[in-house]
């Protein structure tokens, strides 16, 4: 029972922390660019303000338009429930494994795209067309990247996978390098970061995700933004816990949980630091260069799988 409560608490912890995480990244980036950046709690203030505003709906909008933000948020929150953050084993990760995780994320995307198509503007169509094109390549790459791990760990259950990785007997495997590379590329694409997409711009020719949510306002926009921040944190957590699970708590006790949280924060900040560095030094790619990169990720993941067979299984 304790585990169940911990599982839920952990998720609430992550969901609650998501705006802060996003802001931390922004802050780091600003510092790297010699700016001060907004305050750490700016995201919370934004969300609170949006919630209190009167939402305006376009005349054409149907019920899908109104439903979509809720679905997006709920699904992303559900995804959090199954990803181990600071503790394994998670009881809920048995209810939905890593394939389901990918499925849940793709529901979110599905509804984002439907919401964008709903009003019939050119921006919405463009955004969802681009988003779906990119995700059509990113999603299989992610799935394949995860599969490399699953095969090595002989499980698709996230808790089990993390546990197996933690045991360390899989420490340095060539296949995991491929998988990690693939996952990193996918994560940048999925969370809409530079060089794939620029979350900070509304330039019509470059935007992908922003184009889809142009018509949203008020609490709808708040939910979508929040879900987005959760997604960023989720991906970061997924990568650090799958590939670098050191320090994660394996029992419910105050000390180990504390170590888990600390380790998580540390790893997260390192990753964000790297991301900020990357976002600062790189320019956004042309839209048609992105598929090539994602195709590369897909290939890397497949290669990882093949290496797993050739070098690791048959021995």
């Amino acid at each position: 029972m304790n585990l169940w409560i911990c599982n839920i608490l952990e998720s609430i912890f992550l969901i609650g922390l998501a705006p802060l995480g996003g802001m931390a990244l922004k802050k780091m980036k600003a510092r790297l660019q010699n700016r001060r950046g907004p305050g750490f709690f700016q995201s919370y203030r934004d969300i609170a303000k949006l919630f209190s505003k009167e939402p305006i709906l376009p005349n054409q909008a149907s019920w899908i338009f109104r439903l979509a933000p809720y679905v997006i948020f709920i699904v992303t929150a559900l995804a959090v429930l199954i990803v181990p953050v600071v503790l394994i084993p998670l009881p809920l990760s048995a209810a939905a494994d890593v394939i389901t995780l990918v499925g849940l994320l793709s529901i979110a995307r599905f509804f984002t795209a439907l919401g964008a198509m709903d009003t019939g503007t050119a921006f919405g169509g463009m955004g969802s067309s681009r988003e779906m094109t990119l995700s059509a390549l990113a999603e299989p790459a992610m799935l394949m990247g995860v599969f490399v791990l699953s095969m090595a760990a002989q499980s698709t259950d996230l808790s089990t996978m993390v546990a197996v990785m933690l045991k360390g007997n899989l420490g340095l495997q060539p296949s995991l390098v491929f998988a990690l590379a693939a996952m990193l590329i996918v994560a940048t694409a999925e969370t809409g970061r530079i060089p794939v997409d620029n979350p900070a711009t509304h330039l019509e020719l470059t935007m992908v995700h922003e184009a889809m949510i142009l018509e949203y306002s008020g609490r709808y926009l708040a939910l979508i933004e929040w879900a987005n921040q959760i997604k960023l944190l989720l991906f970061a957590t997924l990568i650090i816990n799958l590939f670098f699970p050191w320090g994660i708590a394996i029992e419910v006790s105050g000390a180990s949980l504390l170590v888990g949280v600390m380790a998580w924060i540390l790893k997260l900040l390192t990753l964000f630091g790297l991301l900020a560095l990357m976002e600062t030094t790189m320019a956004k790619m042309r839209i048609f260069r992105v598929p090539e990169v994602l195709g590369l990720a897909f290939l890397l993941a497949i290669l990882g799988m093949l290496t797993h067979y050739i070098l690791e299984v048959s021995v």
Binding site: T100, I107, F110, M117, G124, P140, M151, R219, I287
Partner: protein, 678 residues
């Protein structure tokens, strides 16, 4: 006795429907109601007998018709047999038949008055009879009769609106490939006959085959059934025939007819030949073909702008998924992992059931849209969600299911397929183990592309603003059609949520087809958990996912109630005064990025025309059109066709001679024959 009765009830009702529709041709309404209601009953009876087949011991009966007393052979009356495999497919067939028949009541009512309904009703009933017969047949003669009955009857459905040239072209292609496929299947049966000395399946099962003839049977049956199922290089009839058939017919054709081909393949290869005699490359071949169908199907689907054509290409994709499951099963079986083989087979069968439901639903939805807008071109639609809200909601369920999103049914079967594929390491260095991850990759790619494709479909057809007046004046379809679509939609959700109740039933099939193919672990952890291998390995609990959904939904609803009321306003148009429907993204523009990325596969033929007011900067009108050809046509079928035309021309020249020339033929023949005697 009663079980025999039940077994025959479904086909008998379908046959009665045929007669009734012939006899009551004078009154359209009576003909419509009586035929379709009989077909509903037939579908229900089929489902019941199918469940009986899954649960009870096999029943075999013989009908006193057929071919008596062939020389040197036992008599050949028509043998029928109901076992678990047949039972499962009967359930699939029966379910969709029942729903489609309900739908047909409304659909047929809405057809134009001038056209006789008799061909539609008669051939629909015969088509259904044929499918039921194929599944029940227990000798190759009965099987072939029902198989071809199915083909011919569906051909007449394809050409029902025969004034349009596209229809008979599609019908021709369809029947041609059906005939070729039928003959291939026939020859695979003949090889079994030569070895088993009887046309009955019972004798064929016990026949001992040499590896060569077993492989021949596998190849011939694979080609024949693959042609009907629409596997990738053999699929070309599918995107031609499905769009032109009446929508209720295409729902059945895409929903269950291609599944009947899967049944035939399982029956011949798994049951009659038996996987014990399989060669190592069989499974690999099925996997490779399945993978190519999965990706090829969805890639070509993406570029279609005809709604039903798009759905037809998705059938190719989904058949590919089923084939991957079957291929996995064959590979695992050959390398001695029967329980994994059972898992692969269950995944394939579950997807069979799921695809029947959601593809039936989507085709019925497409029919409803078609009926409302009088066009199947997505470019003529838009904004239908406001005029046809229920259809839109039901169609959305179909879209979510086919895109394999949790917690709908498509996800469950793809999840099982992935789980089976992930067991590839247990094959340990066999030549195929590297192929399996590749198939999984293709499956993953296809899943994501499918979602893209259905965003496009739903977004273009139901959302946005109407692109043509007909779409703006569309109206919701009648209650019969909604009921017909509602059933599969409900089942899509239920099968997504409660796979644990369904899978034990499906697992009866591997029990008879695969020796030692036990699957206890799949549902051993109670009603909540689906665990293919063991709970550590992987598990999925759709009810928990759903509960979480509902919980979160309630919280969201409360938030929504507390939130401020919304205000409606005009769309912000960046200052442009007249936003109109033509500024929306179209199906073509939506798929443009993918067309660009995969241009090596598509070879798009793009055409830009522009006219101006005398100066190239004063543009009057720009037209862009793009045409995507199916690669398989260009590289496989058209060369074959050219070759044949060339031969035909040569033979034709031989027939353009003078009388003396013809006499010379006789003369030379005579000399040659006499020469042989020397």
């Amino acid at each position: 006795m009663s079980s025999t009765f039940l077994l025959l009830l479904g086909p008998a009702l379908a046959f009665t429907a045929t007669l009734v529709s012939l006899l009551l041709a004078s009154n359209r309404n009576i003909q419509n109601y009586s035929t379709n209601l009989l077909l509903v009953l037939s579908g229900v009876a089929t489902v019941i007998s199918g469940i009986m087949g899954l649960l009870a011991a096999p029943i075999a009966i013989t009908l006193p018709i057929g071919l008596p007393g062939l020389p040197g052979l036992p008599e050949l009356p028509i043998h029928l047999r109901l076992d678990a495999l047949a039972g499962f497919f009967l359930v699939v067939v029966g379910l969709l038949v029942a729903f489609v028949a309900i739908y047909s009541v409304g659909y047929i009512k809405s057809l134009q008055v001038g056209r006789s309904l008799t061909p539609l009703c008669v051939f629909m009933s015969l088509f259904i009879l044929g499918m039921q017969g194929v599944v029940l047949a227990d000798d190759s003669y009965a099987f072939m009769i029902c198989w071809e009955l199915m083909s011919v009857a569906s051909y007449f459905l394809v050409v029902y609106e025969h004034e349009k040239e596209a229809n008979h072209k599609a019908g021709f292609l369809y029947l041609l490939m059906a005939h070729l496929g039928g003959l291939l299947i026939l020859s695979s049966f003949s090889i079994l006959f030569v070895n088993g000395h009887s046309f009955e399946f019972a004798a064929m099962r016990t026949a001992v085959l040499t590896p060569f003839s077993a492989s021949m049977v596998f190849l011939l049956a694979g080609l024949g059934f693959g042609m009907k199922a629409g596997l990738m290089p053999l699929h070309v009839w599918l995107p031609e025939a499905h769009p032109v058939a009446p929508s209720n017919a295409s729902a059945l054709m895409s929903g269950i007819m291609i599944k009947v081909a899967i049944y035939g393949f399982l029956r011949v290869v798994f049951d009659l030949v038996g996987l014990e005699t399989s060669a190592w490359w069989w499974g690999g071949l099925v996997l490779a073909i399945g993978s190519s169908s999965v990706v090829g199907g969805v890639l070509f689907a993406l570029q279609q702008h005809d709604l039903k054509r798009l759905l037809a290409y998705h059938s190719v994709e989904n058949i590919g998924i089923i084939a991957i499951g079957i291929g996995l099963s064959m590979v695992f079986m050959h390398f001695g992992h029967p329980s994994l083989a059972a898992l692969g087979l269950v995944a394939a069968l579950y997807h069979t059931l799921n695809h029947a439901l959601f593809k039936g639903l989507l085709f019925m939805g497409a029919g409803a849209v078609l009926h409302a807008t009088h066009s199947s071109n997505m470019g003529d639609m838009g904004g239908l969600i406001r005029r046809m809200p229920i259809t839109a909601a039901l169609f959305l369920i179909g879209c979510l299911s086919i895109s394999a999103l949790p917690p709908f049914n498509g996800f469950v079967s793809e999840w099982l397929t992935f789980q089976a594929a992930l067991m590839a390491p247990s094959l340990e260095g066999t030549p195929l183990s590297a192929l399996i991850p590749f198939s999984a990759a293709m499956l993953a790619l296809a899943g994501a592309l499918t979602a893209t494709c259905f965003i496009k479909v739903f977004g273009i057809v139901f959302q946005g603003t109407p692109r043509k007046p007909a779409a703006a004046e569309a109206h919701e379809v009648d209650r019969w059609m909604l009921m017909g679509m509602g059933g599969p939609a409900l089942l899509c959700i239920l099968l997504g949520l409660l796979p644990v109740y369904v899978i034990p039933l499906i697992a009866m099939v591997p029990k008879i087809l695969i020796q030692n193919g036990q699957l206890e672990s799949l549902v051993q952890n109670g009603w909540l958990w689906l665990t293919p291998i063991s709970s550590e390995r992987a598990s999925y609990s759709p009810p928990i996912v759903m509960m979480a959904f509902i919980l979160a939904g309630i919280i969201a609803f409360l938030m929504y109630r507390r939130g401020k009321p919304v205000r409606r306003a005009a769309l912000w148009s960046c200052g442009h005064p007249h936003l109109n429907a033509r500024m929306q993204y179209t199906a073509t523009s939506f798929s443009q990025p993918l067309r660009h990325i995969f241009s090596d596969i598509y070879h798009p033929e793009e055409k830009n025309t522009r006219s101006d007011h005398g100066h190239h900067l004063l543009v009057k009108r720009v037209r862009y059109s793009v045409h995507i050809r199916d690669l398989v046509w260009d590289y496989l079928y058209i060369p074959i066709w050219h070759l044949m035309e060339w031969v035909v021309n040569g033979v034709g020249w031989l027939h353009k001679q003078r009388l003396q020339g013809y006499l010379t033929y006789i003369f030379v023949t005579l000399l040659v024959l006499m020469g042989f005697l020397i």
